[in-house]
């Protein structure tokens, strides 16, 4: 039972249809006699109407098949695998990144070499294949769209289809320089090449175009659009022929 004059809370409860029927009638009588209070209440009602109207469009979005409960249930079954993957990502973050801790000496030496993290990522994901991908693309267009969610105005994914390579999966990584991604290309013979992208890091370590090889891997690297890039492939495989940017 409310008392008159109504408290502000009562007025809100009225707007939200949360008053008892008897209270509602009591309040309506009061509002009829107090136009300034009624105007306040109407303004709130009006805002609520506008909000409902403007948010109703958001209910009409095209369905996203990835959100279907049956699919979600399926993915949960692979969860233990994913937990393992999360642990692996942390490990990778440490080993790709680290200038800190007990790992410091090796890591410092490694990071002097351009895009050492790109080669390390290739070793872990393309060669040892220990982790499921974050994204599996159907074609280069969707892979590009996936990448564009994370990197702004970056160079386009190179088109290697002439040599038979197509982008098949993408992975997100954290490095000392910031968030990185690796897109893996594969050809019909199962050979692999990776495209790697990350920010230059706090010291803006942009790279002149170059290439180097180490431990059975070769990397071509360059900078542009605010990021550093590398293409990595095994040395026993011809390096990808790329359009110059």
């Amino acid at each position: 039972m409310i008392s008159l004059p109504p408290s502000e809370r009562d007025l809100h409860a009225y707007v939200d249809h949360q008053l008892l029927e008897s209270d509602r009638r009591l309040l309506e009588t009061y509002l009829a006699a107090h136009p300034e209070v009624a105007a306040q209440v109407q303004a709130w009602q009006h805002d609520a109407q506008l909000l409902r109207a403007s948010l109703s469009g958001a209910l009409q979005q095209p369905a996203n098949p990835a959100l279907d409960p049956a699919l979600v249930r399926q993915r949960i079954k692979q969860q233990s695998r994913r937990h393992f993957a999360t642990a692996a990502v942390l490990l990778v973050a440490v080993s790709l990144g680290g200038l800190g801790g007990w790992h410091a000496r090796e890591a410092t030496q490694a990071s002097m070499l351009p895009m050492a993290d790109a080669m390390q990522a290739f070793r872990l994901f393309a060669q040892e294949g220990i982790m499921p991908a974050d994204y599996n693309g159907q074609d280069s267009g969707t892979m590009q769209a996936w990448l564009d969610r994370y990197f702004n105005q970056a160079h386009r994914l190179p088109d290697l289809s002439q040599s038979g390579f197509k982008p098949v999966s993408g992975r997100l990584l954290t490095t000392e320089q910031g968030a990185a991604a690796m897109v893996l290309y594969e050809d019909p013979h199962g050979r692999r090449i990776s495209f790697y992208i990350r920010p230059p890091g706090p010291n803006n370590g942009f790279l002149p175009r170059g290439q180097r090889s180490a431990d059975g891997l070769q990397a071509q690297y360059w900078s542009g659009g605010g990021y550093n890039y590398a293409m990595v492939s095994p040395t026993d495989q011809p390096p990808p022929s790329m359009q110059p940017f």
Binding site: E8, R9, H12, L51, A53, S54, Q60, L67, I76
Partner: protein, 170 residues
Amino acid sequence: MPMHELDEPLRELIPRLRRFAVSLTRNASSADDLVQATLERAINRWADKRIEGDLRAWLFSILYRQFLDAHRRTRRYARMLEFFTGRDDAQPSVERTVIAQSTLQAFDQLNTEQRALLLWVSVEGLSYKEVADILDVPIGTVMSRLSRARQALRQLSDGEIASPSLRILK
């Protein structure tokens, strides 16, 4: 209820969950990631949930917590910010209608809890009690926060009209 019987009611609520998620993240793809995480958690925890109250309110509460957790994590790992909220964070979506634009712009300027409160109460029509359960606060607290949210929305909507964005551009 056996597990798979949950699927159909969940499916029906997905548009509402996506709408709520967009109003929190302001970004469609982050919103869908959030909804997906919510569905996973709901399915995982369904077995432990005693059937009480509204499925919708329960899902909203899971989604809201997940969003707050992700938000806290992003602050901790500032570097990963783009991954959770996206770069085009504050861009309004196309389908928003012109007529309600100033209300919507005002709504987008409210803080997270105020946006959630107004969506739950004004748009979804949840009861104060349900909202109190979600936020784990007394009903009286819900009412005073709601009142503040509404005043803020009112002021911001009026402010939009009083100072058109052209003035800012110079």
